[in-house]
């Protein structure tokens, strides 16, 4: 009995998938192999039996009805495309929201730092001010003598992480 690789070779030969030398090799081999020749005949006849099969299949709907469905589908797709195009700027805003939110947080903290600095006035009797902005998760330190201001930011805010720690400890 032929092995599987030979069977597949016969099929590839029939389908014209072999290179010239390979095809010649299989052709020569087939001459002395009645089993192989019979298999090739079977494979070829199967292909021939399928010829023209699809020609007998007809769409089971009238031209007018089918076209009405196609044209409605086209209309729906075009309306959807128009709606997507109109919604595009909003979509852009939503996608960039995650970048805008931290930036807005930094801006708020900077503004608060500026306000605090002005209110304390600055002077030799008040060389340093430390203000904790618990809600924002930031701390401002201003050293008038050195003329320096430091702003520490934590993201997410320390208050959030401490709450999580607390919650975790409750479970234990």
């Amino acid at each position: 009995m032929m092995d599987y690789q030979h069977q597949l070779k016969i099929q590839a030969y029939l389908d014209g998938e072999l290179s010239g030398p390979e095809a010649k090799e299989v052709s020569d081999w087939l001459t002395g192999q009645p089993d192989a020749a019979a298999l090739m005949t079977e494979l070829r006849q199967t292909g021939e039996a399928l010829t023209g099969f699809e020609e007998g299949l007809k769409l089971p709907e009238s031209r007018e009805f089918f076209w009405s469905k196609v044209s409605r589908g086209i209309q729906i797709q075009e309306n959807r495309a128009r709606a997507d195009a109109q919604a595009a700027p909003v979509g852009w805003l939503i996608r960039f929201r995650r970048f805008l939110m931290p930036a807005a947080g930094v801006a708020v903290i900077s503004l608060l730092a500026l306000v605090v600095t002005r209110e304390t006035g600055g002077g030799p009797s008040n060389p340093a001010v430390e203000t904790s902005l618990a809600d924002g998760g930031g701390v401002v330190y201003h050293d008038f003598s050195a003329g320096a201001t430091f702003v520490w930011l934590s993201y997410p805010p320390d208050s959030d992480s401490s709450e999580e720690d607390d919650a975790g400890s409750l479970d234990q």
Partner: protein, 199 residues
């Protein structure tokens, strides 16, 4: 272009008109090729409703992508490729939803097609065309969708092994194996071979 012009115009002329937004030209193209597109969808899906829906979807996609059609192949071939891709997507969805069929397990474990006795099919001598078509129809329905798809792409679409492997996202060896199995099973079914190995 008038309605009479549409019906007498050739495909390339209608395509050019449709590319400029002429819906009547596109309607004429649909009318000319709708049976072929449906037939391909039906061969692959084996379900009339799905084949109608997918061929309709193919025409909608065809309209949307019409500007991409450059005329390297015929319009009918281009549309056929669209419906084939839609069918493949649909079959992949089906596959995700179902467990492996017995058909596939047989292929994996036994390779019964290798031991099948060779049969002779002589359709024109023994069967009327309509009867043969009905038997082919039933036989195709007994193949798994993987085997049927390979057979359809090779026999009806004339794709080479490497092209089939590409569209089905598998190796050429798998294509050869599936095609061999599909042909041998079809041969057996068309020759009314009753063999316990196939059950």
């Amino acid at each position: 272009m008038s309605e009479a012009d549409h019906s007498s115009a050739d495909d390339p002329t209608l395509v050019r008109a449709a590319q400029t937004g002429d819906m009547l030209a596109f309607e004429e193209l649909v009318a000319r090729h709708r049976d072929k597109i449906y037939a391909r969808a039906f061969s692959m899906m084996r379900n009339e409703d799905e084949a109608v829906d997918l061929s309709q979807e193919a025409w909608v996609k065809g309209w949307q992508r019409l500007h991409q059609f450059q005329g390297e192949s015929s319009f009918g071939t281009w549309m056929t490729r669209i419906v084939i891709n839609l069918c493949l997507d649909q079959l992949r969805k089906h596959k995700r939803q179902r467990t492996e069929s017995i058909e596939e397990m047989t292929e994996e474990s036994g390779g019964v097609e290798r031991q099948m006795p060779v049969v002779t099919i002589n359709p024109t001598a023994r069967l009327e065309r309509a009867e043969l078509r009905a038997r082919i129809d039933r036989a195709l329905g007994q193949l798994s969708h993987e085997h049927r798809t390979v057979l359809v792409l090779h026999e009806f679409e004339d794709l080479e092994y490497k092209e089939i492997a590409k569209v089905m996202e598998c190796s050429i060896g798998t294509v050869m194996s599936r095609l061999f199995y599909a042909r041998r099973k079809m041969a057996a079914l068309l020759a009314d071979v009753k063999n316990e190995n196939w059950k």
